[in-house]
Amino acid sequence: MNYKRKLLFSGLWLLVGLSAHAQADSTQAPKKLKEVIIKQHMNTTKVSLMKPMKVEEIGKGELLKAACCNLSESFETTPSVDVAFTDAVSGYKQVQMLGLAGPYTLITRENIPDVRGLAAITGLTYTPGTWIDGMQLSKGTGSVLNGYESVAGQINIELRKPFEEDKLVLNVYQNSQGRTEGNFYARKELSKRLSTGFFAHARSQWLKTDQNKDGFLDQPLGNQYILLNRWFYHAPKGFEAQAGIKGVYSTNTGGQWNYIKGDEQQAGKPWGYELNTKRLEGWAKIGKVFPHKPATSMGLQLSGVYHDQDALFGNRVYDARQKSLYANLIFQSIIDNTNHVIKGGLSTVLDDYDELFGAKVYKRTEIVPGAFAEYSYSYLDKFNLIAGLRGDYDNLYGGFLTPRLHLRYAPFKKTAIRASIGRAQRTANILAENMGYMASSRVFVIPSTANSFNLDPEVAWNMGVNLTQKFMLDYRDGSFGVDYYYTHFQNQVIADVENPGQVSFYNLSGPSFAHSLQAQFDYELIHHLSMRLAYRWYNVMSTFSGVLKEKPLIAANRAFANFGYETNNSWKFDYTFHWTGTKRVPATHMMLGFRSPSFVQMNAQVSKMFKNNIEIYLGGENLTNYMQHDPIIGADAPFAHGFDASMIWGPVMGRNIYAGVRYNLK
C-alpha cells in the first residue's frame, strides 16, 4: 500500500512540476500527502548524487544570504552564474552561464518558460527573492520536455506554494543608494482542496546618485510594482489544477543628472534614458494521475504573455511589444517497471513581436509546433540514462530535430559522474538582448528585409562532463565538484562591437565556441561554519568579421569564496569574496582596445532571527567600493559620436549598505 501511494504521489508531483528535473525530488507535494512525504529543508545549495542531471538546488537559505532583491541579484552567492551590468545607465544586470549571455539560459517559472523574448534582460527583476521557494540550476542542454531553446543551461524558479510553509511573509528593505523595497506574500487555504497565494512587490529608486561623478545617474529613478495571484486545486481521483496571473508595471528615468522626462533629445540638452514596461502573464497547469496504472500521468501547461515596453536612449527610440502563447502536453508512463520511464508529448510556442527601433519597424510572428519523446532508464542507484528527441517546425526557419542525451554513473556511494550532450536552437531577439549597446552612439547595423531581421536562428551543440564527490572529514560533511562544458555554435547571431561607433549583427561565419571549467569545494569547517570555494575558467571565442577573437567583456578567470556562520541563537553571518579576472575591452573612438584590470568585490551580511519570527538584517555590497573609473566614455558629450556607456567591465555602483526586516508567520 505504502509503495503504491508513494508511486502515485510521485506521479502527481511529476504532473505538477512537469519538469525537466523530473527525476528530482520536487519541492512540492499536495497537502494531503504531508504525512507521507516530508519536505526537506534546503538551507543552502545542494547537489544531489542521485539525479541523472547535475542540479544545483538553491534553497531559501541561500537566497537570504543576499537580502537583495530580485533574481539577478540572488545569484551573488552562486559561483556558476556571473552577474554583470549591461551598461552604465539602465542599472540592469544580466546573468551569464558557461560564458554565454543570459538569453542562452532557459529561465523557467515552475517549468514554464518565463524570462525570454523582450524580457530577456529585464525579466530577471520581475521575480523578487522573497517570493521564491527554491531554484534549480542545471548546466548544459536540459530535457527535451522544456523545449529546444536552452543552450547553456536551465534555471527553474519555484514560487511559494499556497498549501504549505509560511502563511505570511513581509519584507522591507532600504539601502544607502536610495532604494526602498517592500515585499508581501500571504496564502490561504479556502478548503482542503482549494488554496490561493497572493504576492506583491513595490520598489522605488527615489534618490539620485552619481558616485563616479560623471554627470550621469548611476541607476535610473523609477518605480516597480508587481502583483501575482495563484491558485491550486487538488481534486479527488488524482486530478489537479493550478493557475496564476502576474502583472508588472515598471518605470525608469535616468541618464544625465538634469534630465527630466520629456526633455527634447538633442546636443546641448541633458541626455535621457527611459524604460517603461507593462507586462501581463497568465498560466495554468492541469494534471491527471491514473490511479489504476502505476506511474502513469498526463499534464498540460499553458501560458500567455503580453509585454509592452517603451524605451528611450538619448535620441534613440525603442518601443516593443511581445505577445506569446505556450502550450505543452506531456504524457508519462512506465514500461514494466519504474526503471523504464517514457515521456512524450506535443508543444506549441507562438511569439509575436512588434518592435520600433529608430525609425524602422521590425515584425516577427513565429509559430513552432513540435513533438517530443524521452526515455529514462535506471539501473539500481548506479546508472541512469535519459535520451530525448524532439522535432519542431518553425514557420520562419523550417523543421529541425533536437536530440539530447544525459548519463549518470555512480561508481561509489558518494560519487557521481555525469555527462550530457545536446542540441539547442533559438531565435535571437537582437534588440532586446542588446539593449545595453543602445546606451551609446553606436550605429546599429542590422541586416533586414522588409520588416524583419535577415538573420538565421542560432544553433548550438553543448556537451559536458561533471563529477560530484561527497565526503566526510573529521565527522563533518563536504563535497567537491568539477564540471567542464563545451558549447559549439553551428550558427550564432554575432553582436560585433569591434568597430568603433558600431554594433553590427550578422550570422556567424567561422568558429564560435565556449569552454567552461569550474571546480567547487564545500565543507563545514567547524560546526555551523560553512565554506564554499570555487574557481572557474572560461575560454569564449567567436569569429568577428573573419577574425577569431576572445569575446569582449567576459572574464576568463574568476575565484569565489563564501563563508557562512550560524549560531544556536539564530545569528547569521555571511561573507562573500569575488575575484574577477581581466576582460578584453574593444577599441572605441576615444580609446584603444585594452584589457581591464582584475578586481575584488566583497559582500557581507549579518542577520538575527528573533523569537517572534521577526528577522533583522544588515549588509553591505561591494564593500571595498571598487568601481570602474569613467564607465561612460565621452560622458561630457553624449550626443557626439564618441559616447559609449556600454563598455562595462566592472562595478558601476560603489559600496552599498542596506538593512531590512523580514517577518514570517509559520
Binding site: I38, Q469, F471, L473, D474, Y475, F480, V482, A519
Partner: protein, 114 residues
C-alpha cells in the same frame, strides 16, 4: 588535473586516517522522540554540546547517531541536553515545561508517532 587528483586523494586519505586513528571517539545510537524536519534541527542543535563531533537524527526511524569524545562528554549529558529541549529518549524523559514549548509538528506525544 594532476593537482586535482592529488588534492582529492589527500582528502580521502586524511578522512580515513582521522576515522581510524582517533581512539577517543565513539559512535552510538539512541532513540529520540520527534516527528518532523523542525524536530530534526532542534534535536541535532541540542546534541551539539562540547565534545560532540557529529549528531544526526533520522526522522523516519527516530534514530540518533551520536559521535563524541568520551573524555569530554558522555551520552547521558547529551541526552539530558536534548531532553531539556523537549525531546525525550529511552534514557531520559523530557521535562513537561520544555515539551509544551515544542512547535506544533513536534508534539510527538499527541500524534503517537515514534
Amino acid at each position: 588535473m594532476k593537482r586535482l587528483i592529488v588534492f582529492l586523494s589527500i582528502i580521502f586519505f586524511s578522512s580515513a586516517v582521522f576515522a581510524q586513528q582517533n581512539k577517543d571517539i565513539v559512535t552510538e545510537h539512541y532513540k529520540v522522540s520527534g516527528n518532523c524536519e523542525q524536530c530534526k534541527k532542534r534535536i541535532e542543535n541540542a546534541a551539539y554540546i562540547k565534545g560532540v563531533k557529529r549528531a544526526e537524527w533520522n526522522k523516519e526511524t527516530g534514530d540518533l547517531t551520536l559521535i563524541y569524545r568520551p573524555s569530554q562528554t558522555s551520552a547521558d549529558a547529551v541526552l539530558q541536553h536534548i531532553a531539556k529541549a523537549g525531546h525525550e529518549s529511552g534514557q531520559v524523559k523530557a521535562d513537561d515545561a520544555a515539551y509544551k514549548k515544542l512547535p506544533h509538528c513536534c508534539a510527538y506525544k499527541e500524534t503517537g508517532k515514534h
